[in-house]
Symmetry: C2
Subunit: 338 residues, 2 copies
């Protein structure tokens, strides 16, 4: 993203009839969106909710049974989940991407069939996937971004569904940040104390066993990641390549975005961090990516829900850019010198 272009847009904002800088981060959102896309409006926006299952759930790391992944995918396609409600509230489409759910879906409107395999292997016993599968997951996300570019989707949100997926996300956070697993692990969808202790041990042992190489992000994805996380990482890479701002949802999406930003630091400028999740490892990943979260509403649902809400604010920032008059046009006196 060109810093000259950013400065140009800011100087236009600075002529608007309001104290300079007084719209705070809205000015940043507008500036970045326009610099990335060359547009001042959003024609279409879509949330891509990537779904996958996780072998590591057999270690008892999740509060929900594995069959909830396909059940929720069907709920998304039926329009009855939180992401559907919140996407509707901002006028965004929802597309579900089956990256690796342990279920055979029939072709359906709003569902992309991109299954790499029926769930990852249990990373407590060996690598979650092969390197080839990791690359396939990344490529799937990249292709979706190119497809968005063609369809005039100007703003993309990421989302996830996968019972057990805070476990690989925490492993990814630990692999890149070097922070201790105990410090990064949270209760996910709501496990108790014993399961939390177990989750920490599982992640620690999985990291020790697989020894993912943080200098090789594809290796981290393959050893301790997930198919939906790979799809998200690919989408973030692809959006940056295509010049589409990408709103990264919460903990799992940020694990994907972190893989992307470790593969190519240039993608960071294209990322809008939707919100600060309750998951404690989230902040450490965002810090490494270098983006401040837009919202902080104590959410921890995933699906792309925080991203949908943040899209509404980004769109509002563009309206402010387009519609606020300048001091001259509005006949308003400028700042004095006191």
């Amino acid at each position: 993203v060109s810093s000259e272009r950013l400065a140009e847009i800011q100087s236009r904002i600075d002529r608007q009839a309001k104290p300079q800088g007084s719209l705070g981060r809205l000015e940043e959102f507008a500036r970045r969106y326009v610099a990335i896309t060359g547009r001042e409006d959003v024609r279409r926006k879509a949330v891509f909710t990537f779904a996958g299952d996780h072998g590591v759930v057999e270690e008892g790391v999740s509060a929900f049974p594995r069959e909830v992944t396909p059940q929720m995918v069907l709920n998304f396609l039926d329009g009855g989940a939180a992401i559907n409600a919140l996407a509707r509230s901002v006028g965004a489409e929802v597309v579900v991407v089956d990256m690796g759910v342990d279920y055979d879906f029939s072709p359906m409107e709003g569902l992309l069939l991109k299954k790499v395999a029926k769930g990852t292997a249990n990373f407590a016993r060996g690598p979650a996937m092969t390197r080839r599968q990791a690359i396939q997951a990344l490529e799937t996300g990249i292709e979706i971004a190119f497809d968005c570019k063609e369809k005039g989707i100007d703003l993309v949100g990421t989302g996830d569904m996968g019972i057990g997926n805070t476990t690989p996300s925490t492993a990814i956070a630990a692999a890149f940040t070097g922070l201790s697993v105990a410090r990064l692990t949270h209760r996910g969808t709501g496990i108790g104390d014993a399961a939390l202790a177990r989750k920490i041990v599982v992640i620690e042992e999985g990291l020790k066993l697989n020894a993912p190489d943080p200098a090789d992000p594809v290796d981290v994805l393959a050893k301790v990641g997930g198919f939906e996380i790979g799809g998200i990482a690919g989408l973030v890479l692809g959006c940056a390549a295509c010049g589409i701002p990408v709103v990264v949802d919460g903990f799992i999406s940020t694990a994907g975005a972190l893989i992307a930003s470790e593969l190519h630091p240039g993608v960071r400028d294209y990322i809008f961090a939707a919100h600060q999740s309750v998951e404690i490892g989230h902040g450490a990943m965002l810090e490494r990516i270098g983006q401040r979260p837009i919202l902080n509403l104590d959410m921890r649902l995933g699906e792309g829900t925080g991203g949908a809400l943040a899209m509404g604010l980004i769109e509002a920032s563009l309206r402010a850019l387009r519609e606020i008059r300048t001091f001259d046009d509005a006949g308003v006196s400028g700042q004095e010198a006191p």
Copy 2:
């Protein structure tokens, strides 16, 4: 607001197909809105931007000249200001209330002519207004709330316009919180170091001279307040009386809401604190009111801009309440026990 009713709504949210509590503060917004209004949607929403001038500007406390107050009022009525753009982005109406601008407006669509006087007196030299004027300002706001109730306006936002009005707002914050003026005073729309030092002295001396009694909030409003601040305080009181949730914008609006909540602590349950302003005295007032801000976007514009954005999130929370299916309806398995 009935705690039984709040619990009833939460238990309905808890049956929705998502981990309990995972929508965080959105659940709080929906719960409170429904408990207050008895409705699950918003028929109409409106931002009331109260405008007034301030005698204290003759002390050199603002970066902008006094004529900007009427100029901006005309800009609001013409639809070209930040509040117009952001209100449009959430589908809210904007109503401007002339509480005390030093200018004669002709009757216009979207403008309520409620002038108490052409600006307050300089509180550095004596009381800003008489007690009678303070009560008139409060009553004006209360009447507007009753009018909203009649018109089916289910969600109200507050906003302000008044060159110099961070100065009375800071004085109000100091009067109620007992914190030092130096600790509470910020740069407003953007004054330099010398003007900031001067602003602190002006507020300190105004408080000393007028000795407002914090146990008598009408006295605080009269001695160091403003007409638009009184209007906002009245609107907050009236909304609570009518059962309308009121989204309180930033620093100046919160000074008004603080006067209302000191007059009757029961109003606090009806307040949605829109955002955390950059103004440093803002947090101290919000803490006293007991509401956490919804957004934190480094904004410091006023007009009702933060409130408009927060209204969008409150409305999204209602959509989530209405549209997310239960575990049973969606055919999704519930939480296990680990």
